[in-house]
Amino acid sequence: MIGFDRVSVSFGATEALEDVTLSVAPGALCVLVGPSGSGKSTLLRLVNRLVEPTAGRVSVRGTDVTALEPAQLRRSIGYVIQSVGLFPHRSVAENIATVPRLLGWERRRIDARVTSMLDLVRLGEEYRERYPAELSGGQAQRVGLARALAADPDILLMDEPFGAVDPITRGSLREELRRIHQKTGKTVLLVTHDPIEALELATQIVVLRDGRMVAAGTPMELMAPAGDPFVRDLFGGELLALRRLRFTPVAAIMEPPLAGAAPGIPAATSLWDALIRMIDQRAIRLAVNDEAGGVVGSVSLRALVERHP
């Protein structure tokens, strides 16, 4: 869906990106993570030609972006920035309608689309006629997301989308993004400096440092014990052993049912949550239930410690 082939970008004497090769598959939620100045935003901005490569080739949907007219290309790609950038002189509905209007959609189709976008980001109809000054930071960010998705782009670029909101709102916006990603199947490219955010959201993670790609893979691959020291430290050093537990369901280490196991947990529960339940209930063994609530197995503290991936 998105391809970078040996791409370098320099701004004057500074090398922002060096020789990056990366491909993002359709439907992926690819998170670019790294410290500030690592080039992650530059990599994102190459996709809709806000930045041009000094060397190499960037392709979107199989076409070299330099062959596409920048305004047309940008209208086909959703874009969300940290500062949101809602138009303060336009209502929420007008903000959301921006790209559909540029594309010449009919009035009625735009109205219907605004309604379904508000619904998607869980803002009521009563927000339609509000102005950005009347919204909280979290609401503004939701409107920004609705605006980015309004013309139904198959690609969504997000540059530190949750950076400017408080931690609680950030958590719920992340949850929202995960839900929307699953529901719509968009290809999402997201930039963050928060490694935990990357681990929680990504299907694919790319770690950047000083303009170079230092690691790429699934969250599980990047948390592997034998990884690059910089990457290990970035994702939490020794805490990684615990973090990995979030990514494996108890089904992976399930044992036969056993009498005397404490009340059950669903098979899809993560090892992390299972461990919390064990500590909480002072039990070293929990029953595992299927969706109907029937006991299908058990999980033990011993298995969790010895057999976790």
């Binding site: 920048p70 940008r74 500062s83 949101v84 138009f87 209502s91 921006t98 000054a133």
Partner: protein
């Protein structure tokens, strides 16, 4: 807020007009021969016409150049434009009138020229500053969403910069009205005429009336301009309270 300011300014206009009225001015200064009211009114109309002739081109030139020097293509012109515009206000209008007098002759023309030059700075500086500081994140978002540079200017920059530009036009207008009185020295029939005659004939009532009538015209124009701005703001359904541009449009939380 604008409405209340407008009412105060209009009240000041009425007070100044009262002072300019022949019986009041005559009584205040103990003169039996104040400047006649109908001649004062005719001069006020002429004064307004001269200001109009000067301010319309000033506004057009100032706004257009203000836009031009904030575009990527026009940015190299910026230092030059700044210098020319600063110089244009550093030269006193009376000097421009005196210098233009041999070329343009006696009458309104030198005054129109002097006012056009004098009022350029507030408009051009105001427009450029407004465009420089308008919601930069909104402009960045507009570009990223695929608005063309022309669309960004029309749909985002101008609507957001407009209140500041209007404010600079207001300054230019009031400045032009106050300064136009100088034109009387070069034979332009303005509210400066009674002042010049009064100075020559030592008639203090003429001087007071010319000055008060000029102030009344300036206040009246300012008040009407403010009311028009308040109306335009209401029609645009913008959130009522004017917000400083630097402040973030989003409440925290």
């Amino acid at each position: 807020m604008r409405r209340r300011t407008a009412l105060v300014v209009l009240a000041l206009a009425a007070a100044a007009a009262l002072v300019a009225a022949p019986p009041v001015a005559g009584w205040l200064l103990g003169r039996a021969d104040p400047y006649p009211a109908e001649r004062l009114a005719a001069l006020a109309l002429n004064h307004a016409a001269i200001v109009g002739l000067a301010v319309v081109p000033t506004a057009l030139i100032g706004v257009l150049f203000g836009i031009l020097i904030t575009r990527p293509a026009g940015r190299p012109l910026r230092p030059l434009a700044d210098a020319v515009v600063a110089a244009s206000q550093a030269v006193p209008p009376v000097v421009v009138v005196a210098l233009a007098f041999p070329a343009l002759g006696f009458g309104a023309a030198p005054t129109v020229l002097a006012l056009t030059i004098y009022c350029l700075m507030p408009v051009l500086r105001g427009t450029a500053a407004a465009l420089d500081t308008t919601a930069l994140d909104a402009v960045a978002a507009a570009r990223a969403m695929g608005l063309t540079p022309g669309q960004i200017l029309r749909e985002v920059e101008i609507p957001l910069a407009w209140p500041v530009v209007a404010e600079s036009l207001r300054v230019a207008l009031v400045l032009a009205i106050a300064t136009a009185a100088v034109g009387a020295l070069a034979g332009a029939a303005t509210l400066g005429t009674p002042i010049v005659i009064g100075l020559q004939n030592q008639n203090e009532a003429y001087i007071l009336q010319g000055a008060a009538a000029t102030a009344a015209l300036a206040f009246l124009t300012d008040g009407v301009f403010l009311l028009a701005l308040a109306g335009a703001r209401r029609r645009a359904r913008l959130p009522g309270r004017a917000r400083p541009l630097a402040e973030s449009p989003y409440r925290p939380g």
